[in-house]
Symmetry: C2
DNA sequence: TTGATATATATCGGATTACAAGATATAATG
DNA sequence: CATTATATCTTGTAATCCGATATATATCAA
């Protein structure tokens, strides 16, 4: 029953939008950015990442463009769209409310532990 | 794409263990306690609750006992076990780390909104 | 040359999870 | 009598993440 991995569910699009909100990036770099910024707590798997990118692009929240540079593998760089920024705002609000609600319930437990 | 419901994924057992950590309760009361304490942000559905209770009982993290009171519907009251308390501690730690990691990534966005 | 490692994208199937919907049943209230 | 609140339970569906696998290039070491 120790599946902390389930915690990620529902937050993948939020995290992708959040890193693209600061700079356009290609898939591999997005995964690295999330890992680095989370202090290696969140590890993005490629079986999760790429389908999520297609879904976001399909929904018009991000826009991808292929780059064919010489002496490098072709890669697709994504940028956040206006719709994506609106979605991000809505999702960060939802996350804050959710996190607050969870803390209200488990708060007593963690207070005990640190006491 | 507006499924905040997915946020709950993986946290259901944590929330149940957290409320049972304070007092034994039967299923219906657990759902109410979570709703109330979350300020009505978290709404527990019974198709989620009861399977989760069986799973937790099966794993030895909670213990259920039927009460057959006169002039009342039979109901099953659950208590948290020692193993459940250990699991709760582990899960609250995992949650705190996860929430911190997410905030590290989306933090910039919410700071913009409140600025 | 060969092997390992890092970069980079992509797909499929399995497992887990939450929820909607519906069934069942009692007590209290209008 | 009808409705609402209480209380438990099951089934099927949809969503999501991840492991595994495949492809392909560049670099570095043995």
């Amino acid at each position: 029953m120790g599946n902390e991995r389930e915690l990620l569910k529902g937050n993948t699009p939020t995290l992708i939008l959040a890193v693209l909100h600061e700079a356009p990036m290609h898939g591999y770099a997005i995964a690295q950015a999330i890992e680095r910024r989370s202090g290696d707590i969140l590890k993005f798997k490629y079986g999760t990442l790429y389908p999520a990118l297609y879904s976001l692009e399909n929904a018009g929240l991000i826009a991808g463009e292929w780059e064919h540079l010489e002496s490098e593998r072709p890669r697709k760089t994504y940028s956040i769209t206006d719709a994506g920024r609106a979605e991000l705002a809505s999702r960060t609000t939802a996350w804050s409310q959710f996190a607050l609600a969870v803390n209200n319930i488990i708060g007593g437990v963690s207070r005990e532990q640190t006491a």
